[in-house]
């Protein structure tokens, strides 16, 4: 069965664009009409720039007509940015740029904010010739696992509109799953790309910490945050990573190491690779259907000639506690900048002190306040050593265990999420139950490693993700394993019901 234009991969669409069987304008219009039809209901977008996208698509078509696609696989491909990336909306005189999109981070405190500068991600994708369609909904300041913490309402999963699309990059996962954008960017601090990819049957890659610039990405937890792509195939995310990766002097943590040609790493061959399966990732509380699908995925890779070995990461169950000290501590410091003076909402109180406390009290939502409180507590006098230093020590243990295991295996296989998409509202009153969604993804952020989620089929009609974790800066092997799996498994063409409506 041939999929509609809006639901195909970059690889297929790029070929049609190069041969001029399809124009970028037609493709962009196909995405925009899907947005028009579904985005309101699914609440996946916070800002849409239709006219600017159409103009950019017309420019891309002129470049394509001149043969400009050579070495530019994203030329003319429409995409969406999580609304945590700033997009330039003001000129040097501080006036609105035509077509400039606002940036909210999913928060009331930034309602109406127009950035005077672009994020590195936007700049690099612009250079690559990709077409920005709009900004996607997300959990407020990327804090959440269900997209229910957005100040602008929850996003619905196109596979079942009564369920969540995962979070915090839930608008991006929904846009890619639902044919509203060919690819999208998200950010991943504890699983915010991989978990929503798992819940929507898309591919989501968190690169190594330091692989992609964080400039212009509104900071949540600076030692954990990383930017990465959602796509409909492993090859697609490899192509987007190729455009994003590389040194940026504006981000002091963006490492100056060579960038591989990720697409050429996708040989389809995993013979002789040693892949570790950590027993601690198959825990009580995991849905049986998820375990079945993930185990079957591991067998598929064994069938392809990979050597599967059981490994142990004993500190895995310390990950959650470690993360919920480090991430809120860093967040409480990062979010101190929202003071109602330089930008964003202001409570307009008569005295400065009240202006701070009321701006922040009314501008931040419940989860953000919870994390600011938790982080401030962990950093406060008398608790700093017991919580913050302790968590940093356990971080060393977790990282060392990963490093030791990755000396004996080429990559690690695990579930992405212990469960499939759950009902909207099911976990909102229980922060700890919500935090458990990321138990299999957040250790990877703590260790700073690359990880990908690739669809390994359905359980009860909802997608399940297989996670591949690799050595630092070895995205090539992670992508190679995921791609070989994807080709053999045959789930890459699964699309939600909205694609066929």
């Amino acid at each position: 069965m041939t999929l509609p234009i809006a639901d195909r991969t970059i690889t297929e669409l790029g070929e049609l664009l190069r041969t001029r069987e399809l124009s970028s304008r037609e493709l962009t219009d196909a995405c925009l009409s899907r947005i028009d039809r579904d985005a309101g209901r699914l609440n996946s977008f916070l800002a849409i720039g239709a006219e600017a996208a159409q103009r950019a698509a017309d420019d891309a078509d002129m470049a394509l007509a001149r043969g400009g696609a050579e070495g530019r696989p994203l030329l003319g491909i429409p995409y969406a940015l999580k609304d945590i990336f700033v997009t330039r909306a003001l000129d040097d005189a501080g006036q609105d740029l035509p077509g400039g999109l606002p940036t909210t981070a999913g928060s009331r405190i930034l309602e109406g904010y127009r950035s005077p500068y672009p994020s590195s991600a936007q700049e690099r994708l612009d250079m690559a010739g990709a077409i920005l369609l709009g900004k996607t909904n997300c959990d407020e300041f990327a804090m959440g696992s269900s997209n229910e913490n957005s100040a602008y309402g929850p996003v619905r999963n196109p596979w079942d509109e009564t369920t969540v699309p995962g979070g915090s990059s839930g608008g991006s996962s929904t846009a890619v799953a639902g044919g509203q954008a060919v690819f999208a960017l998200g950010t991943d601090t504890g699983g915010s790309i991989r978990q929503p990819a798992s819940l929507t049957g898309t591919v989501g890659l968190k690169p190594t910490y330091g692989r992609v610039s964080r400039w212009g990405m509104i900071a949540f937890a600076s030692s954990l945050d990383q930017c990465g792509p959602f796509g409909r195939s492993v090859r697609d995310v490899a192509l987007v990573l190729g455009a994003l990766a590389g040194h940026d002097p504006r981000d002091s943590t963006c490492v100056n190491t060579p960038v591989s040609d990720y697409a050429t790493a996708l040989t389809g061959d995993v013979k002789g690779l040693r892949l570790g399966v950590p027993r601690e990732y198959f825990v009580a509380g995991m849905q049986p259907g998820v375990e079945t699908a993930v185990r079957a995925g591991i067998e598929t890779l064994r069938g392809l000639g990979a050597e599967i070995v059981e490994v142990s990461l004993p500190s895995t169950d310390r990950g959650l506690a470690t993360y919920y000290i480090i991430a809120p501590a860093e967040a409480s410091a990062n979010l101190a900048r929202f003071d109602g003076v330089r930008y964003g909402r202001s409570a307009a109180a008569e005295a400065l002190w009240e202006n701070y406390t009321h701006t922040r009290g009314s501008g931040f939502g419940p989860e953000v306040k919870r994390r600011i409180m938790l982080g401030t507590y962990a950093l406060s006098a008398g608790y700093y050593d017991a919580y913050y230093v302790k968590a940093q020590q356990v971080r060393t243990l977790i990282k060392d265990e990963f490093d030791a295991v990755l000396e004996t295996v080429d990559a690690i296989l695990a579930p992405t999420s212990p469960n499939v998409a759950f009902k909207i509202g099911a976990k909102v009153d229980d922060p700890l139950a919500m935090y458990l969604n990321d138990a299999c993804t957040l250790p990877v952020n703590i260790a700073g490693l690359p990880g990908i989620s690739v669809s390994c089929g359905l359980s009860g009609g909802l997608p399940v993700g297989l996670q591949v974790i690799g050595r630092a800066f070895d995205e090539a092997t992670v992508l190679r394993v995921a791609d070989a799996y994807e080709r053999a498994a045959g789930f890459a063409d699964l699309r939600p019901p909205t694609a066929h409506a």
């Binding site: 002091s252 310390r318 964003g344 005295a351 919870r370 968590a391 940093q392 922060p431």
Partner: protein, 99 residues
């Protein structure tokens, strides 16, 4: 069991410059206590011989040439300010009598 009092919650909210309603203080007291209980598990782990990790990458100072480059213009930097009095940001009263 971590015990967080209402006073603790209000003290931390003060440090965080966060106004909380009475309801929020109540909710925060319960929720923070539950979360801290879950986090307490780390306490029993012996880490006396483990160094802390603040960042997973080894950072080195990077020097650049001392050259003037263009940055944000003043107009662009001020454009989002809730209160401005060009070419300045305007802030509410900082010092009040009796405080």
């Amino acid at each position: 069991m971590a015990t967080i009092s209402r006073d603790d919650v209000q003290h931390v909210a003060h440090l965080a410059r966060l106004h909380l309603t009475d309801d929020e203080v109540d909710r925060m007291q319960t929720q923070l206590s539950n979360i801290l209980d879950a986090i307490e598990t780390l306490r029993h782990l012996d880490t006396s011989h483990v160094g802390p990790t603040a960042s997973v990458i080894q950072l080195e100072n990077v020097m650049r040439e001392d050259e003037v480059v263009s940055g944000l213009t003043r107009d662009a930097a001020l454009a989002n300010a809730p209160l401005r009095d060009d070419p300045f940001l305007r802030v509410p009263t900082v010092l009040q009598e009796g405080r």
